[in-house]
C-alpha cells in the first residue's frame, strides 16, 4: 500500500509538470491554431537557462527565474515574428513542419551554447521536506508542484480578469470578429508564444532541478502531447486533469509492470499507448470541443 501511495504521490508531482508544459501548448493552439511541436524544446532550453543562471552566474533563485523569464519573452517574440508569422493561413502540415524545424534549430543552438552535455544543479533550488506517515515526498518535486500550481493559478486569473487575457480568449473564439472589435490579432499571437515560452522555461527549470538537463529532456514534450490529447486540445482545465491523470497512471503502471517486462521502459511508451487509445475512441479528448466540419 505504501508503495502504491508513493507511486501516486510522485506521479502527481510529475503530472503537475506535464500540466505546466501542456498548458503552453494549449495556449498557442487556442489562440493561433498552431500545433507547437517545439514545446518540449522550450523546456529543454529552460533547463539549460536555469543551469546558466544558477550555476554559471551564481544568481539567487528569484533573479535566475526573472532572467530566464526575460530570455523566454525575447525568445517567444523572435520565434513568433520570424517563423510563425509567415505561416498564418498555411496548411496544417506546413505549420507543424515549421515548429519541428524550429525544434531542430533550438536543439542545435542548445548543442552550440551548452555543448549538449548533461548538466545538473541538484540542491541549488530551495527544498521543502515533507513526510506523511511512511510516505516521503522528494523535496525538489514538492517545490515543483507548488511552482506549477502557482503558475497555473496566475494563468487562469490572467485569462479571466485582464484585458490581454480576455483578448486572447476572444481570439480563440473568432479571429475576424476580434479584429473588427479593434484587437490586434498579431499581438495576441505574439503574446501566446511568449506565454508558452515562459511556461515551458519555468517547467524546464523545475525538471532540471529534479533530474538534470540534457538534450533528450525535450522528449518530455511528447508526454505533454499525450496530456493535451487526453484532456482535449482546446481545454486548459482538461490539460490540468489529464496531466495529473497521466502522471499518476504512468508512474503506477511503470512501478507494477516494469519488473515483469524484460526490457522495461514502460514509462516511456505509456503516453503513446494512451495517445493511440484516445485517438481511436475519443478523438476530441475528455473535455475538448467536438469540431463540426463543413464543406
Amino acid at each position: 500500500m505504501t508503495f502504491f501511495l508513493q507511486l501516486m504521490v510522485s506521479g502527481f508531482a510529475l503530472g503537475m509538470v506535464y500540466t505546466l508544459i501542456a498548458i503552453g501548448f494549449v495556449i498557442i493552439l487556442k489562440c493561433s491554431k498552431a500545433f507547437n511541436i517545439a514545446q518540449g524544446h522550450f523546456v529543454m532550453i529552460g533547463g539549460y537557462l536555469g543551469f546558466t543562471f544558477l550555476v554559471t552566474f551564481h544568481l539567487p533563485v528569484w533573479a535566475s527565474l526573472l532572467a530566464a523569464v526575460a530570455v523566454a519573452i525575447i525568445m517567444g517574440l523572435l520565434i513568433e515574428r520570424l517563423t510563425l508569422r509567415p505561416m498564418v493561413g498555411q496548411p496544417v502540415l506546413a505549420v507543424i513542419m515549421m515548429t519541428i524545424a524550429l525544434s531542430v534549430v533550438l536543439e542545435g543552438l542548445a548543442t552550440l551554447v551548452w555543448g549538449g552535455e548533461y548538466k545538473t544543479y541538484h540542491g541549488v533550488l530551495p527544498t521543502i521536506t515533507l513526510k506523511v506517515g511512511e510516505l516521503s515526498i522528494p523535496p525538489e518535486t514538492l517545490i515543483g508542484v507548488i511552482v506549477s500550481i502557482i503558475v497555473v493559478i496566475i494563468l487562469m486569473l490572467f485569462f479571466r480578469y485582464t484585458r490581454s487575457g480576455l483578448a486572447m480568449m476572444a481570439t480563440a473564439e473568432d479571429e475576424q470578429v476580434v479584429q473588427s472589435a479593434g484587437i490586434k490579432v498579431t499581438t495576441v499571437y505574439a503574446l501566446s508564444w511568449v506565454i508558452a515560452c515562459i511556461v515551458g522555461v519555468i517547467g524546464g527549470i523545475i525538471l532540471g532541478g529534479v533530474s538534470g538537463v540534457m538534450i533528450p529532456l525535450a522528449n518530455v514534450g511528447m508526454k505533454a502531447f499525450a496530456v493535451v490529447l487526453l484532456g482535449g486540445v482546446n481545454s486548459i482545465g482538461g490539460a490540468i486533469v489529464a496531466g495529473i491523470m497521466l502522471g499518476v497512471l504512468e508512474n503506477v503502471a511503470a512501478g507494477y509492470l516494469d519488473p515483469l517486462l524484460p526490457g522495461g521502459g514502460l514509462a516511456n511508451v505509456f503516453p503513446f499507448v494512451v495517445m493511440i487509445i484516445v485517438l481511436i475512441f475519443r478523438p476530441h479528448g475528455l473535455f475538448g470541443l467536438v469540431e463540426i466540419e463543413r464543406i
Binding site: 513542419m97 531542430v104 511508451v269 503513446f272 495517445m275 485517438l279
Partner: protein
Amino acid sequence: MGLPSGTFNQGYAQDMAIFRTRTQWVMLFAFLILLFACPLFFGDRILTVLTIIGISIISVHGLNILTGYCNQISMGHAGFMAVGAYTSALLTAKLDFSFWAALPCAALAAGIVGIIFGLPSLRVKGFYLIMATVAAHFIIIWVILQLYGVTGGADGMAVPRPEIGGFVFKSKASYFYLVMAIACLGTFFAKNIVRTRAGRAFIAIRDNELAAEVMGVNLWTYKLQAFFIGCVYAGVAGSLLVHYVAFATTDQFPFMNSVWYLGMLIVGGMGSTMGVIFGAVSLKLLDELVTVVGPILAAAVSPQAASSLGLIMRGLVILLFLIFEPRGLAHRWQMVKSYYRLWPFSH
C-alpha cells in the same frame, strides 16, 4: 501546359504518356545509363552516399503517396521502415529465407502494420494523426526492444547480404545496382499509382475529405490503401537498409529520420514524384556537406559548433523552404522548364 512548343496531344495515349517526346525518351535513357555507370567512375565512399540516397528515395516515395497525395501526415515512417527491416532480417537470418522472398514479406508486414496504425486516420486528421503516427513509431521500436529473444533487443542482430544464384551482393557497386534498380522501379510505380483510380481518390481526399466522401470516394478503403502503399515502400526501404549495413538495430531508425523524410518532402515539393527525388538528394547532399565541413569547423572554431552544425543547417533549410518556397524544388524545376521551353518568348 508542360509540353514543348509545337507539340500537341492528339489522342488519349499521347495525353497520358509520361514521356511524351523523343527528347524526353533520350534524356531518360541518358540519365539511366549515367546512373548505372556510376560505379565505373566513383569510389566506394560516393557509392555509399548514392546507395543511401536510393534507399531514402524509396522510403520517401511511400511517404509522398501517403502525405503528399492523400494528406495523411505520417511521422512514424522510420518506425514502419523498422518493421520491414526486422521482418526481412528475421526471415533471412533466423529462418533461412532468401532475400528475394523476404523482401516482399517485409513489404507486406510493414503494410499491414501501417494499416493497423492508420486506423485512427478514419476518425482524426492533421495534428492528431501526426500524434498517432508518432505513437506508432515509439510503440514499434519499444516492441522490437522488448522481443529480446527474437530480435536481439538493443544489441541488434547480424543480417546476411542478399545473394542470387551463388552471387552475393557483397561489394558496394553490386549493392548500388540492386538499390538503384529497385529505386527506379519504385519511382515508376509511384508515378503510376497516383494516376490510377486509387491515386485520383487520394488526391480527392487531400483536397477536401468531406467533398470526396460526398462524391463517392470510400474514405475507409482509400485512406487505409494509402497507408498500406506508403508503408510497403517504407518496408522495402527498411529491408534494403539493414541488408546493406548487414546488421539490424533500432538505432538505424531514430524518430528524427521520420522527421527528415517529411523534410525531404517539403524541400522537394509535396505531391510530386520529381520532388521526392529532389528532396532526398538535396537533403542527403546537405548531410554530406556537413560531414565534410564539420571537421574543418571543429578545428577552426570548436567541436560544439561542428556537432550543432548539422542540426542547425537542416532545421534552417526546412524553415527557409517553408517560408520562401513552400511548393519545393519541384515547383522551381517546373518554372525553369516552362521558361526554357518558351524561350525567347515570355509566354
